[in-house]
Symmetry: C2
Subunit: 468 residues, 2 copies
């Protein structure tokens, strides 16, 4: 073989090799799932929206985001999810709920807050809440949340260890707080018991890939200063998140002011309770100065517009919070005061409510409402490093949403369509931590008919318990 | 044959005849459709709710309402619709919309009202609205409304004759008003043309079983006193309904007060415009005395909570209207300012909004919100003699709604479930004027894919028209 022939052969070999090597390069990527086509709404720092986009997922993480052309050049994909004509969004983040209360959905509507709590919710809880109830209610709430594209939720209830167990089984991400309160409740009869439960709970789940365990003192008006400080100390020791209701009602604000000589936020700040592990739910009655305190201390806030409206609590000063760049997300609150765990309705309501209250239709535009339901919600829960946007290196928490239902047609702006037109029923497929938990509206980790059967059995039990 | 034998034979004959005759009695009822099983929420004068109920429909009318046992004893039914486990409700009544504007859904969100109108809506209308546009937009809005269980709507737009034609073809009931305004619009270039169109339109549709034709002066600030009086006179002559926007914004109230020396309602009353054929949309800025005027004159009102929030218009004093027993219904307004025509969201929002605004969670309970969306809405449109409730002799305008979706489970109170938990996607079957227009979520009178295709074609045309 002369040199020329050798060169030709070499050239042919190289030319033949390139696609094979490139193929092997692709194959070497292993089990990569590619969401291909559709509009990718990343909610990254620049709020990049990619038409005809794609997302590559390997294990629990996003490994590439780009155009379909870019991604399919780089990855073969052992599984392709076609999202053509759909929107690919970060999974929604429900920053405040009490998930087992789904079993009390609509049990006591249109009542005074006091009657609601003391005549219905507290007796219903006292007579019905045990670990089995909590598990059934959690599965019900989780199924509804997943069907609506929620991939992370923040909870506060009793038997939170059972809630964590059900949440993990369902493949859902949760920041889950065990309730601590100064009177006997379903799981813990004393504060000391609650502290013991809380510590064990946090240590057990501390390194779980899906569960962020938290301590959840109920509110400044139901937990003494001494106990709040004990919880704060335990949280410091364990590096644990804290979930707490703060300044939900005018009565709370006035009572704390009278008892402690300071409004709830000022009081919590004075006792050194606030830091960047705290998640404060509601924060309806807060001044501009108090928003500054929350911001400076790194506290996250959960705005629950529908619950605050239904219980006539008031309207949190969300536009001011946003102007100060506070980490404020959206939450549904428990289904007993909403009466669902539908984040699409919270977005729509938040965007409309703050226009009305401010008198300015430019307030809280759709994109900002969507941000509150995604990356800003993740910030509120202090987990924005791992979720809340579709970005390389973050966990794959993603929802694929129809954009061609009648009520979404036509679509001129993707954020407008998402916030003002899209319904929970438009969510097709949900991925959490890289795992597909709903595919084309079929739940893969939860048994919907069993959940309904259990919930209806509890319904009868609850009705009987209240009629006695 | 002796007498005893004769008697025995006679007895046997009688005994054998009874079921045969009774069967024939049943068969003689002809084509009766029976909705059988489920909870019938009648919204009759006593708000009767019938568990395991049934409704018999013959032709366009309800001929019997009762328990399943009662109805099936009396009627055989040539068609049985099984509603077991579902809720059977009067079809919802959308008291205010601009149905073709569905094609402008989300085209210009989060803007000042003035920018919204002058930079987007008016130019978009000027460049796109013709009869074909109106027909395509009407079909889109009708399909969305029917899928959500709406059986009657009140409209105000241009080319209303085409809207009436599409509405009748879809089998929908409509109170449809041809817009009259003091500047050239898509269909009529002068006020005289509009009057001619209006008269012809009303005479053409006057005795239609589905269409109630109306004259629709746009608003007190866009139609002169002289023209309002001319419309009033024509309405008297034709016995035609009048649809008009009244006191939607503070600016309108202030401008009319400055120009006419009276607020909109007082001004309209002073010129003798108000009577029991008038339907006033919005009525946000009205005093208690003005509510009394509306009530005394028999005017119907359309409350549009989501539109009023999104455009930051204000909140109509609905609890006061209800306490005075005003005929006030719920409306979606056009999809350009909402961004859907979903009455379930209006009910939910109305119930929550007025709790917030009044500071009282007992305000506007679920049952009252549902009443506003049904029989009180029919009163607002002055057609409560024929629709708005499920009662013998009324037209059969009925929706059959699931009650066992996850987000409705469990259900403790049917009104709570309907108002706070039910979504448009839970509506299964819709009957209007005795005709099934949606069966188990399949539209029978409208072609959904053609509607979407047409809407998306208009979307491109509209975008191009605005970029020029």
């Amino acid at each position: 073989m002369n040199f020329r022939k050798f060169l030709s052969a070499l050239l042919v070999l190289i030319l033949v090799s390139i696609p094979i090597l490139s193929q092997q390069k692709k194959r070497a990527d292993g089990k990569v799932t590619i969401i291909s086509g559709g509009t990718v709404v990343t909610m990254d720092a620049t709020h990049r929206v990619i038409e005809n986009g794609a997302v590559a997922i390997k294990g629990d993480k996003v490994v590439a985001v780009g155009t379909k052309a870019e991604i399919t050049k780089k990855y073969r994909g052992s599984r392709i999810i076609d999202a053509t004509g759909k929107v690919v969004i970060p999974g929604l983040i429900n920053t405040h709920t009490h998930v087992p209360m789904s079993l009390f959905r609509g049990i006591s509507d249109d009542l005074d807050l006091n009657d609601w709590l003391t005549k219905y919710i507290f007796p219903a809880e006292a007579k019905n809440v045990d670990e089995a109830f909590v598990r059934a209610g959690t599965r019900l709430g989780l199924a509804e949340m997943i069907r609506g594209g929620t991939t992370t939720y923040c909870d506060m209830y009793y038997f939170e260890d059972a809630i964590a167990d059900e949440t993990k089984k369902a493949g859902m991400r949760g920041v889950l707080g065990e309730t601590m309160i100064d009177f006997p409740v379903a799981d813990n009869k004393t504060f000391d018991q609650a502290m013991t439960y809380g510590e064990r709970f946090v240590r057990k789940w501390k390194n779980d890939p899906l569960i962020v365990p938290a301590l959840a003192p109920h509110a400044p008006y139901t937990v003494s200063t001494e106990h709040l400080l004990a919880i704060k100390k335990l949280s410091d020791t364990l590096d644990a998140a804290i979930v707490i209701h703060v300044a939900e009602t005018k009565k709370e604000r006035d009572d704390i002011l009278a008892q402690k000589g300071a409004t709830p936020v000022n009081y919590l700040n004075r006792i050194g309770f606030l830091n960047d592990r705290v998640i404060a739910a509601h924060t309806v009655f807060v001044t501009n100065d108090e928003i500054d305190i929350l911001k400076n201390k790194g506290v996250g806030a959960a705005h629950n517009p529908q619950s605050n409206m239904k219980l006539a609590s008031g309207t949190a000063p969300v536009p001011m919070m946003l102007s100060k760049n506070l980490a404020v997300g959206l939450g549904t609150d428990g289904a007993a005061s909403n009466n669902d765990v539908d984040m699409w309705e919270e977005m729509d309501t938040a965007a409309k409510l703050h226009k009305l209250i401010s008198g300015d239709p430019k307030t809280l535009p759709a994109e900002q409402a969507f941000e509150m339901a995604t990356i800003r919600g993740a910030r509120a829960l202090h987990i924005d490093k791992i979720t809340g946007s579709i970005e390389v290196g973050k966990r794959a928490d993603i929802a694929i949403v129809d954009l061609n239902s009648l009520h979404q047609t036509p679509s001129y702006n993707v954020y407008s369509s998402l916030v003002y037109s899209t319904k929970a029923s438009d969510v097709r497929t949900v991925i959490i931590n890289g795992q597909i938990v709903m595919l084309d509206r079929v739940l893969l980790t939860l048994n919907e008919s069993a959940i309904k059967r259990d919930a209806n059995a509890y319904r009868i039990k609850i009705i009987n318990s209240l009629s006695r």
